[in-house]
Every structure is written in structure tokens, then in C-alpha cells.
Symmetry: C2
Subunit: 308 residues, 2 copies
């Protein structure tokens, strides 16, 4: 079995290739070509932690992937990042282990940001004015960084609950301004990405201007929320990575439960990419992409990292 270190993974996997692989993966997922069992979970109390096991197989692939990702929330006290993890690649012909990717969570950050880039590519208006980033953490930087592949815009406004973090936010090649209110961010940006662990709506429906696209990546577990459910009623396109998953625990779930939209109002990104469901048809439409993260994204980037 090959052991692939993080530095080697970074050499092997370009952000552009990851975006293309994730885009193609969404189409395969929506066509029903990916076997994705339920996510496994192991919880810890002392110290507090969560371990998630995501795994699956894309029909026709000669490998399958198991990802083990952990979050141990006291790690920063020890000077360690909260997140860690690895991916394992096995032969789908014999079951033999082929590679362990010691990515420390890097591939997860990458595939999550790649999904944001894919959503913006297919749903953002032609002229986004500025890019609005809600949250100033690791994934906020990743999202802005990868958007350079799908828009020529290099100006961003950033908002965070802690203004000093927004002020310190920097991504190479972007001119960035911290703003004190979400209203200002929403007034200036026609492409907004929300990346917070919020448990209540941050972006309210009345803040959002016509012609805005919003990608929400923070609500990746039950109880989390970033978007006002009323925003879904206003939107012309309500995209999700996975209907079944987003209607369980994404921002979409709140809108559905509030009775503001029906399940059939949601289109999967893979359907929009493949052209079987419409995307943006007018520059003045509001569009939303609610992303909760799929094993197919892990599979697609793991294949790039494990390629001979």
C-alpha cells in the first residue's frame, strides 16, 4: 500500500483539476451512478470530539474511497487544528487497500471549496460586482481562493461576527475590504458565500438584492442555519448538492419545514450542470446553492491524489 503525504497530495492535486472533478462528480451523483451509504458517526465527550466516516463508490471506478474525518474541539488549546483526517483508497476489483492519503483534512477543505466554485460557475450572474464572504475562517479563505477559477472578479467584502477577524482576512490576488454589516455586504456583492457554523439565519431575505447568487456551505449538520427560509421563497433557482441530504439538514430543510417551498422546487447541481434542470435564466434572478458535502466529492479528489 502506498502512503501519500500531504505535501505529495498538494503537488498532485491542482485546484483547477479538483473543480473539474467535483463538477463531473455531481453529474454522476445526480444520475444515480454513485453508491453512498449513510455517514458513520462516533462521538466523544472527554475531550469533546466527532468522527465522521464517509465512503462510497462511483459505478465503473476501479477504486472506492473511505474518508475518516475528525473534529476535536479542544485541540486549539494544544496548539493543534480541530480538524484532522485521512482517506483510504481500495481496489474495487479485489478489495485490497491501495493507498492511504494523509491529507489531514486538506482534501476535504479543497473539495468543499471546489463545490462552491462549481455552484458559482453555473449560477452566479455575469457581473458580480464584488464577492461577499460571510465568515472569516479556513473555509472562507478556501472559497474565495477557488472562485478565481470561475470569475474574473478580484474584489471582495468580508463580514465576520468578530470584526478583527474580518479585518485580518486575506487571500492572495484579491483586494478585500472588511464590512461591519451584512446589509452592506449584500448591497455590494452579487456573489455571496456563507461559511459559518451559525445556528440561526444570518442573511435575511430583505437584505438580498436582485441578481444575487448565494452559496451556503456552513449548514453541514442538523441544527445549523445561515439563510433566512424566506430567501428560498424569493429565489428563482434553489440548488442543492443532494436533495435527500439537504432536505434533511441543510438550510433547505428549514425552508421546507416552514412550508415555504416544496421538495420538487429543489434542483440538484448535477442536474443543472447536465442541463436536465434549469439554472439561472435571467441576470436579475436570485439563486441559491445549499451545499452539505457528498462522498462523491471525496471520491473525485481522492482519485486525483492517488493516481499513479
Amino acid at each position: 500500500m502506498r502512503i501519500v503525504s500531504l505535501s505529495e497530495i498538494k503537488l498532485r492535486v491542482s485546484t483547477a483539476a479538483a473543480i473539474a472533478a467535483v463538477e463531473e462528480g455531481f453529474v454522476a451523483y445526480s444520475r444515480g451512478e454513485v453508491t453512498v451509504p449513510p455517514v458513520g458517526h462516533l462521538g466523544f465527550e472527554q475531550p469533546p470530539g466527532d468522527v465522521h466516516i464517509k465512503y462510497g463508490h462511483r459505478r465503473g471506478d476501479d477504486m472506492f474511497v473511505v474518508k475518516i474525518a475528525s473534529g476535536f474541539y479542544d485541540n486549539p488549546k494544544l496548539g493543534l487544528p480541530s480538524s484532522n483526517g485521512l482517506m483510504l483508497v481500495f481496489s474495487a476489483q479485489t478489495g485490497a487497500p491501495e493507498a492511504v492519503l494523509l491529507d489531514e483534512g486538506w482534501l476535504t477543505d479543497l473539495r468543499t471549496a471546489a463545490a462552491g466554485a462549481v455552484a458559482a460557475k453555473h449560477l452566479a450572474p455575469r457581473d458580480v460586482g464584488e464577492i461577499g464572504i460571510v465568515g472569516a475562517g479556513v473555509q472562507a479563505r478556501w472559497q474565495l481562493d477557488l472562485l478565481r477559477h470561475v470569475t474574473s472578479c478580484r474584489r471582495a467584502v468580508v463580514w465576520a461576527r468578530d470584526f478583527s477577524k474580518a479585518h485580518a482576512f486575506a487571500v492572495e490576488g484579491f483586494e478585500i475590504e472588511a464590512v461591519r454589516t451584512l446589509e452592506e455586504l449584500a448591497a455590494r456583492a452579487r456573489l455571496i458565500v456563507t461559511t459559518t457554523p451559525s445556528r440561526e439565519a444570518l442573511l435575511r431575505a430583505e437584505m438580498i438584492h436582485p441578481g444575487t447568487h448565494i452559496t451556503a456551505v456552513g449548514a453541514d449538520a442538523p441544527g445549523k442555519q445561515e439563510l433566512d427560509p424566506a430567501l428560498f421563497a424569493r429565489a428563482a433557482v434553489r440548488a442543492v448538492d443532494s436533495r435527500s441530504q439537504c432536505l434533511h439538514h441543510g438550510d433547505s430543510a428549514h425552508a421546507l419545514r416552514a412550508g415555504l417551498v416544496r421538495e420538487t422546487d429543489f434542483a440538484e447541481l448535477g442536474e443543472i450542470i447536465a442541463g436536465t434542470r434549469p439554472g439561472r435564466t435571467d441576470e436579475n434572478q436570485i439563486t441559491i446553492a445549499d451545499l452539505t458535502g457528498l462522498a462523491i466529492q471525496d471520491i473525485q479528489v481522492a482519485k486525483l491524489a492517488a493516481a499513479n
Copy 2:
């Protein structure tokens, strides 16, 4: 992260230590000290295969374990064993990966046989006469091999559907005779281990003589069966590794569904070892141990293999 090869694992883990570790693990499990989420499963059609993911954490342990085990049934055509797999050891303090145990399924064979030895230690009569082995595959050899740690008997009779396989069956240090009928095996052996993938009862209630202990390890998935449900009605002790698991898909499940026994008639091995439920109290009793395999067994042997 450390990579531990199979040859290194074999040097680190003695069979005697594995039996003691599994015995102690059963007690911890029955005391509710082990977090064991549902087993994950990924199925394959071309070629046919099954992947199981077992994982868990024993309270107080500084590590947790994830096992990925595969069975690809066309492998023998390629000259490869059907089974493969590895175990991963992570810090329960930080989530960081610590070791990958490239055991190729060896630790699973070991921990399964260790459970058989533990069951025999606590339930077999003092004088077993001969040991009866039903099935002549890899696990049949493992079971007999480890029984040397818990009985002084070195004579065995073996039965297999294919007599030539029973005839070829050999384990160092044992005098072994192949028999053509299960009746003969049951007449000669007071300690019987069944290790087949049978889907119907092999040992019928009327075959079994008083004072016999039977350990059944084959029925590890729904649909499998080795023991006549009526045997459970005759037995004085009905032991299981896990009540919840055995009453779902062990031989015990068939007896329960037939209405011959109640759930409370089953004692967990961990309870018998700890003395909170009675084991054998008379040399003439019939006792049964139905083993389906628990993540705590994997955890216990993985700790031995990963120890510094």
C-alpha cells in the same frame, strides 16, 4: 503515522494475549463501556463484493479503532484470498491518525478465534473427550488452534460438507480424524465449534449429547444458520457475545423468532465472565455460545498490535 505490517503484527500479538484481551473486552462491552455505532456496509456487483466498516471506542481508552474488512468472492480466481482488510488506530484525545495495521484480515481471524476460546473457557465441561470442528476452512483451523490455550484435549474430529476437505484438515499438535456424519461428531465431542457459511441448521437438537458445549461462529449475517432452533430450548445456558446483535442475525435470532426462547433467556459472555449471570453449573448441561463478532474484539487486538 506508523505503518505496521502483517509480519510485525504477528510478532507483536500473541494468541494468549489476544484471548485475554478479548475476554476483558467482552466484560467492558456488557458493562456498557464501549461505544459501537452500527456497522457500515458498501456492496459491489461486478465483481461481487462486500465491504464492512466496524468502529468504536472503549471508554477510557486513549485510542479508537476503525476496521475496514472486505470480501471479494471472485478473488480466488485471481489466486487471491477473498478476505482483506486493515485497521486504523486514532488518538481519542486529538483525532490524529496514529497507526495503520496492514493485517490483511489476520487480526479479524484471530479475534474471532479468541472469542471461541473465551466461550469454551467459561462454558465447556471439564472433560470434553474430543473436540468437534464443523467446517474445514480457515476459521475452523483458527478455532482449534486457539482452543489449546483453554483445554488440555489434543484430539479432534472434523466434519465438512466436502469430506476431502475434512480429511485434509490439520492443526499442529492435534490428532485429528475426519468423520462422515455430524451424528458421529456429536457423539464423540463434548466441545463443538461450528464455522460454516451454512444457511440452514446443521446440528439438530436430537444429535447433541448431554454435557456438550457448542460455540457457533458461522452465522455472522442475516440469513445464515448453523444450529437447530430447538437446541436453544434444550440448552441450560444460551450465551451470546451481544444480545442486540445475536437476536438480530445470529443463530439465536432463529430460536427467538420460532418462539422457543425469550430474549431474557440469553446471557452475554461478558456477564458470564463477570459473574453477573450464571454459566455452566453442571457437567451434564448443554451450553451454547452464539458469536457474531463485535467491534470491541477488533479494538482489543488492535491495541495489542499498535502498542509502542
